[in-house]
Assembly symmetry: D2
Homo-oligomer: 288 residues x 4
């Protein structure tokens, strides 16, 4: 079994303008294929953070109320990720054999309207032989036909809009991939995490997971990062479930720095991608 | 403690045109406030139904594969529902005190785009005193401003569209109520069930639940049925989670009959509602 | 010069429920390439129809107020259509050379959101050599990738929605063709008319016109009818400009019959198209 | 007859990155109620501008091709605007009496989906007595319920979206006003022009015109400017018809300055409006 060690860090600074409730999802998840060797979370004094873990997803959340003024959140961790070999011959699971716990990932969600894109998915990918190859074809289509363009989408952009506009950031790429999969009756979900990008700036990354061969397999339609080294933060039906921050109040972000240091030899450089800027990669949800 | 006894029955008939996987959600839920005295589920011979219960929601699902030909599904139950007294002075819970398990009902979902309707909700209901009275104001606004009109919406219609079109059926009314609540930071979710309508035809009904005073309270923006007598089938983030049937295949529904018999004296007749037709009340999800 | 003679007829019957203003657009247009040999318009007695012709488009409208009760509108005409030979080498016109009067057909309209589909059009057709061949490629793409399916769209369905859903009727096919053209800077517009279908029922038909080689050329993405024999009723930016009827009041249509009789030998049968039903071909606009 | 004299000026600078076709609509319109005393248009040398006037609207367009490099467009004019007294008792025109030439302003357009907002308009304004007072009620509703917020909308934002989001800039305010009017069978259209704002920065302004009392009357839902002094540039069905610039090519705007100098005494200061920024007031259409 091959493993891969990364040191990850997030620094977030905010100027809080009104009493605000925060919910952060930035810690490495408790997940079978990754081992947190050490971690440290620091939050400005004066707040009483409360942690909870979603039993279904393993996502870890930190919630607290904060008064107006500056806020600093800093998370560091050293995480060992097990690199999983992917069999290129994995098959699709007939819907009737999709496990009960996985069944819900067949349904449409806020940003993945698979209920209106069934015909398109059938027309585009319905003739391909079922299996992981078909998901690879979806991944590739998204990579080739959608332009990576920071600022082209917002936190409410949906897969349907990305399909029409042909532009988005990593979460949009993942949402569209998920939507095609679900529309073809392949369970799929969103995964966010830390991963080393070949070109700065570093940021949270969003990819997707599809259920093939009786297991979840990661796909990165942006092609920007080696998914087998991704330090998983969160797993959800779509972006609303795994926002790195959800804020209820009036807040201005003043700093956001994500860094990933790899201890092992650098992975081979992914194919160059023009004008990549990850800053919008994983928008926060903010409710005034 | 007051209870209320209902006998409910569903008869569904289909003409299956291609091998199809079915997932039904028509059984009375296992739920603290209701007791299933007896129940009977009959499905045409030749299929091997598999039941599972979602641990989080108590929703009960029946899944099976079926070959082309006719299909009959018949469910009957006698259910005792505990009638809960609602304190009219229930307060809203500050977001910081919303329990971790309830927090997710603050987020937008496929048919409830609370992320784009925050300003509208604030403009419309933001000045009202927080508490159950505000949710009643939302319930009433939906009842008065949305026209109940079968055929005006489809299985993919969202709250945003209902808000613009001003027409829909019960699930649309519930979705819009949920959306306003979430946009005001009040957790809310969809509930479907059996309930006696004053006027035929009987059908599944959709209402919503909001988190006030530290508990879930039912609201029926259609005003068509006494919610305190609702036999709960399913609880979910929105309609996709509690469709009475989700089908993967080519199928034609040939019969749908829902009946509710009340053992106790008839509740007082709700105010008349012109041109009510519940037939579209709870659309099925069908994927070819 | 080859011409083609058709006898066309429309019978429309309505039950008027409240005082209503009608605007019909069912008469053969005054148009350079067609000659109206004879025509007859009959409307139930009791109304005072007023005719006007839009100077820009040549479209002819009949407007009148009508009281509650039955209404009959009957139009018959014998029209000689000049069959225009289309040079397969027609070139696109650089935007700078598009005539001032044609320039407006480059802009987005209600049902043709070319402003949001620029990238998609470029990705899909941008690499093809400019010219009529590129418009033919668009026509063919729409024919192959969109399913003709009555009931799949409404009078408010837009090209963007058709592109996502992959289903529609003739006006939707035409709208999508127009949208791709405009997004590629090729002026395009909607044309409705009478044309003989190989299979019943007859109905109004909607096709589109693109500006290539310094002239307007007709395209029928449905492939259902020989466009060179189309008796033109109306030309507009999209369907709202050429609805066969626009009604302000409460009205129920009780009969709609369109018939086209061709005097010349039947054109060769177009390729078969499964499950064709033209009844929704050209929805009316109705405002209560 | 009272008149009002303004000196207006526009300075636009671009960095052209690829051969581009431009169409500008920045000159004062030829219009019955305004007299252009003097005007001057200057465009960087090297281009061959061509002017045309739309016979229907009186809008004046300047078109030309330009090669990569810098471009300067400068327009100055001294315009005398006739201040029209508005009778507060103007009545609505029954649809049957709307003139043929005005009839088209009843129909939905790209950014004004009156075809889907009929019920909302009826619910909200249907009970008010018909007449100019009803349009004033619409104007006021938009002013009170929509937040003026630069950056909240884009060049493709529609009235429906503004209605849901409750935020926009002047063109969005005007689009929503137009949409409500049309949905109530009151003809309405967009007007853009130069008008003196009490607070900088100056910019093009968008307002709307409704047909009441047998004439067009101007309304400014933003309340930001005295519409009776507006120097009219363009009149159209919605923003796409009167964009100040429509560009086909790759272009970067580097400067945009609009100034309005009033010769007559300053009109009374309109009520203060927080955080007004007109920079997004009238987005250009750009097609790469």
């Amino acid at each position: 079994m091959k493993t891969h060690l990364s040191t990850v860090e997030t620094v977030l600074e905010y100027e809080i303008l009104s009493p605000t409730h925060f919910c952060f999802n930035i810690e490495a998840a408790h997940w079978p294929t990754q081992k947190i060797r050490s971690e440290r979370l620091a939050i400005s004094s004066g707040v009483a953070p409360h942690s909870f873990e979603d039993p279904r997803s393993g996502n870890r959340f930190i919630r607290f109320d904060a008064a107006p003024g500056p806020l600093l959140v800093n998370y560091q961790a050293e995480v060992e990720v097990e690199t999983v070999e992917i069999d290129p011959a994995l098959t699709e699971t007939p819907v009737g054999q999709v496990p009960d716990a996985v069944f819900r990932y067949l349904l449409p969600t806020r940003y993945c309207e698979s209920d209106v894109m069934g015909s398109a998915a059938q027309k585009m990918f319905g003739q391909l032989p079922p299996g992981i190859g078909r998901v690879r074809a979806i991944e590739e289509w998204v990579r080739n036909e959608i332009t990576y363009k920071p600022g082209s989408s917002t936190s409410t952009t949906t897969a349907q809009e990305v399909f029409v506009q042909r532009a988005g950031v990593c979460r949009d790429f993942a949402h569209l991939g998920i939507t095609f999969c679900r529309a073809l009756n392949i369970p799929a979900r969103l995964v966010v995490g830390y991963v080393w990008f070949d070109e700065p700036p570093q940021d949270f990354h969003a990819v997707f997971e599809a259920w093939v061969g009786g297991r979840w397999v990661l796909f990165d339609p942006t092609g920007m990062a080696p998914v087998d080294r991704l330090v998983r933060i969160g797993t959800g039906r779509d972006a609303k479930d795994v926002a790195f921050s959800t804020m209820f109040g009036s807040v201005r972000m003043t700093r956001k720095e994500v860094s990933v240091l790899e201890h092992d030899p650098r992975p081979p450089k992914p194919e160059p991608h023009a004008q990549v800027d990850h800053r919008d990669a994983e928008p926060a949800i903010q409710t005034a």
